[in-house]
Symmetry: C2
Subunit: 349 residues, 2 copies
């Protein structure tokens, strides 16, 4: 779909009038109506958004739906490879994909801080519109609140997504079985390190780009190929370590991985060393793990490699200690990979 | 449904360990998992919330769904007649009702400020659980983010609701016609004045209680009685004035009201005079207007009075100037009731 406003077009709300967000933009009156009409409607343009009503009536072709929600508070708002707008769309779209659902409808709710530059909001809204187009999801309803200066941080965004399960696959941690292969969709740690590098003013010869991206395509390809996918989970906050621990706990099984099999870029390794972080704890916004029976692992990996050639078989589910995750180190030892317990990377998404 | 934790039970996350929200409660690790499990799951307990997955799979009996979203930033968090938790549930439930939908599923997403008292969060979560039970909606999925001290205001909540249209009624501003009666569901201005009085330390002999409440029951009663409801809208931010202006603009018609027909409590009148506000601009969280053909007005009003005896016929839709709202004053003059253009009552919901 081509937007009525080309990429990079300047904000259609006359900036000369209101170059910054005022408290009145959240007051439910004329200025809020203008903001919604000229910024959000212009950026998200689609048929379902045109009714001036409190909610959106959705035409859903069948009965099994998936609903998921996420709020986004990333700091800074713009980083190499993305921004809070693209993140807010892709993060929720990916949670739908992890349930095996085809993304359909999205709500977008904004908490704006008084004084936010209108141009910044316009850039973010446009980025959301583009990400929604790419993911094939429609932004159908929304909300705007404004809080006083010093009670926010520019902009916080909530998105809630609705997707349709178009297949009979049951994708759930409960279906993970001993012997299952653990497949990772690509190199990890890029999103977290891109944001941290930007925040901490770290410079690299080649800047680390966030992996922020929609995951629907590889997931749908796995399902369409008839792979019996037991479980899917994206590696966001808490990184791959949190993902593996969550699944091991929910399934009541052990997961054993090989560290050398887990793809990590040199730049991410370097940045992690500077900041004293384990790449396995670093957030991603476009990477997932798939749990499939060993017999399906080869075929599934082949499909995943079509979307990211760094996709890899990184480990196996075993009958060992329930909830434990172990990693075989490069020198052959075993370490326990724990759930991150502190706050390593605040406000990464 | 009876909660596993009785009302007023103390927070099940050991307060001795973490009496305040830490950044780590939003880090995606062990502490966030504990927070979700022991606070939110305990307060929202229902079958659909039990799967440890990124989204909720919903069983929806039919095809026409309504989706709506709202973020809540009210200040203070607790006020006479309600709190941010009850508001966050009722606000979204009411937007579903205004579309004529039966509320079904709710997501709940939290932006917590570092340092928030755990006991405060627990009170709010319990209040949400109770409000959801009352409205018959299930909280099925959620998200938690934590921002640093000074970048929030205790707690902001987003809720997104899904409802089912169980009837053929088309409820939309486009169906409002000249001659339609405008019915108001009760006395206005209580929510806004309850919050402002609390915030400004105004004391009255009898404190003003917020009207925060679910509206599904009177709406469903109208529909079940076979009333051909043309449009419904709740009077939230911007008050009755914003509601009437929005409908007049969307329908391209004029709305003419009589000021003496609009019920306003004496205490609200008094508080508005002190603060220099027009009660018609003050926010409500449990009041709506129904637009019906003149021939149905008597029957509809009779039904609405069963839920609030102050329900009243306040005006008529006419073929006058499109988008204009006029009010006949007590002394017989006409004034134009404009959309509130500034920020009269910031952070009222």
């Amino acid at each position: 779909m081509i937007k009525p406003n080309p990429i990079g077009a300047s904000c259609p709300l006359p900036i000369a009038d209101h170059p910054k967000i005022l408290m009145a933009h959240g007051g439910g009156g004329r200025m809020m109506a203008q903001l919604i009409d000229r910024v959000f409607r212009a950026a998200f343009d689609n048929r379902d958004l045109q009714t001036t009503h409190d909610g959106a009536v959705l035409d859903i072709p069948q009965d099994r739906l998936v609903m998921t929600t996420d709020s986004f508070v990333v700091r800074p708002l713009f980083f190499p490879g993305g921004d809070i707008g693209a993140l807010a769309v892709n993060g929720t779209v990916n949670d739908l994909s992890m349930c095996g659902a085809q993304p359909q409808y999205l709500s977008a709710s904004f908490i704006l801080e008084e004084g936010l530059e209108m141009e910044t909001l316009w850039q973010i809204a446009q980025s959301m519109g583009r990400a929604a187009d790419t993911a094939g999801i429609h932004i159908v309803t929304g909300d705007t609140k404004v809080v006083e200066r010093g009670h926010g941080d520019g902009i916080y965004i909530n998105t809630t997504g609705i997707g349709v399960l178009e297949h009979d696959a049951r994708i759930s941690p409960a279906r993970v079985k001993p012997g299952d292969a653990v497949l990772l969709s690509g190199n990890i740690g890029c999103h977290g390190m891109a944001v941290m590098a930007q925040r901490e003013n770290l410079t690299f010869t080649s800047p680390i780009q966030s992996d922020c991206a929609p995951l629907a395509a590889p997931v749908m390809a796995l399902l369409k190929a008839g792979i019996d996918v037991h479980c899917l989970r994206d590696a966001t906050r808490g990184g791959l370590a949190a993902l593996l621990n969550e699944i091991a706990t929910a399934a009541g099984l052990q997961i054993s991985c090989r560290e050398t099999a887990i793809p990590v870029d040199d730049a991410v390794h370097g940045a992690c060393e500077i900041l004293g972080l384990d790449p396995l704890h670093v957030a991603n916004e476009g990477r997932f793990a798939a749990f499939v029976a060993a017999k399906d692992a080869g075929h599934a990996l082949e499909i995943m490699k079509q979307y990211n050639e760094q996709a890899a078989l990184i480990g196996t589910v075993t009958n060992g200690k329930p909830g434990m995750v172990t990693v075989q180190t490069p020198i052959g030892g075993q370490r326990i990979l724990d759930m991150p317990s502190g706050e390593l990377l605040p406000r990464i998404c």
